[in-house]
């Protein structure tokens, strides 16, 4: 019995020290990690709206969230992009449900309501099937689309074979993003 207590206390001490050192490392690296993630996100945004060269040129429209997050449940973030003080377009980031999990998707839209491109920021779709939403051959189909296009899988968008659900989720999100920008522009 005495032995068990002694062993328990040793283990507890080890875990205590381990947890302490991990907490210290975490608090030291926390900000850098968040910064890295932000930077990566903005890098993707910059590719969607050509001409923008700095994260500062994006203004987040937080004022829109109370109204539009009710209407579009999967809406994540909305940014306006500026080049030399002039608004050149929007980034609508949505998190629609894919086949396996949420797909974090950024849609770039120009001021005249055309999709300038899409970027998949995060997803957990099946490798080899749904994961192909990351590929340029799928993504480039959305370039130049506007609300006057049908934006339906099987009509003007080719689905990834074997991954209709993922393809539909992305297509639908792009369509909704265009609708949203039509309302705020």
């Amino acid at each position: 019995m005495r032995n068990i207590i002694r062993l328990g206390i040793t283990l507890m001490m080890v875990c205590f020290i381990a947890a302490g050192s991990l907490a210290a490392t975490y608090s030291l690296t926390k900000e850098r990690i968040a910064l890295q993630k932000m930077e990566e996100q903005f890098k993707a945004y910059m590719e969607l709206l050509p001409g923008i060269t700095s994260a500062k040129d994006f203004k987040e429209r937080k004022d829109l969230y109370p109204k539009f997050k009710k209407e579009y449940k999967d809406l994540d973030k909305v940014f306006e992009g500026y080049v030399e003080g002039e608004r050149v377009g929007f980034i609508a980031q949505k998190i629609p449900k894919g086949y396996k999990g949420p797909i974090k998707l950024a849609v770039g839209i120009t001021v005249n309501g055309k999709a300038s491109g899409i970027a998949v920021i995060e997803h957990s779709e099946t490798p080899g099937l749904g994961a192909k939403i990351e590929e340029a051959s799928f993504q480039k189909q959305f370039k130049g689309k506007s609300l006057s296009d049908p934006l339906e899988v099987g009509e003007d968008i080719d689905a990834i074979s074997g991954a209709t659900t993922s393809s539909k989720a992305v297509t639908n999100a792009v369509k909704e993003a265009l609708e949203l920008c039509e309302k705020i522009k």
Binding site: T10, V14, L22, Q36
Partner: protein, 203 residues
């Protein structure tokens, strides 16, 4: 001092963790597609090996036999998490490629193996030397495999954005070398080569 040097040296050739002891192969085969990944994976694993060896050796007097494995794992997992966080903060692009293999260092046989077989029974100095030697041996094999696979599979070696070696446009790189079969082929040939060299040395 001689003993410490011997402990360090044996990890590189005589007891090389990959080619001789044949442990921790899984991650080595997976990340050896490029020299650059080998460098980062090697440094990460070596740091964990070195630090956990020192700590486990330092607390071995208080570590009762019955609870040594949970203690080893706690120590190792802590260092792996530290590496994971630091790499995510400062080497994000590489971290994204190495991805799951960094947290998986926890279950790398080399580290738990050296804790159990060496650090638990030897002094701090000798355990540190063993950790460094094993880490160097692991990194060395990763670099050699990465060099062979990257050069033959992509036709050139790119290190930190700089093209070091290029085989030229006339060379059609067989992509099998970058894929999994290439890892097994390269590893098999390296092991055969080491066996030949060693048996020559003996006779």
């Amino acid at each position: 001092m001689n003993q410490v040097w011997h402990d360090f040296k044996s990890g590189i050739i005589a007891e090389n963790p990959l080619l001789r002891l044949m442990i921790g192969l899984c991650s080595a085969l997976a990340v050896s597609t490029r020299v650059e990944y080998g460098i980062f994976m090697g440094i990460a694993a070596s740091f964990v090996l070195f630090s956990s060896n020192i700590i486990i050796s330092a607390i071995r007097r208080w570590t009762a036999d019955q609870i040594r494995i949970p203690i080893f794992i706690t120590v190792i997992a802590s260092f792996v998490t530290i590496v994971d966080l630091v790499m995510r903060a400062y080497f994000y692009p590489v971290y994204k490629v190495l991805g799951v293999w960094i947290p998986l260092i926890v279950v790398n046989c080399i580290i738990l193996g050296r804790a159990e077989a060496f650090a638990y029974k030897h002094s701090i100095m000798r355990s540190a030397a063993d950790g460094l030697g094993m880490g160097a041996g692991y990194t060395l094999v990763l670099l050699v495999m990465g060099f062979i696979r990257e050069l033959s599979g992509t036709g050139k070696i790119i290190l930190f954005g700089q093209t070091l070696v290029s085989l030229g446009a006339g060379f059609e790189p067989p992509s099998i070398m970058i894929l999994f079969p290439g890892a097994f082929l390269t590893f098999g040939f390296l092991m055969a080569l080491l066996n030949i060299v060693q048996s020559r040395g003996r006779s």
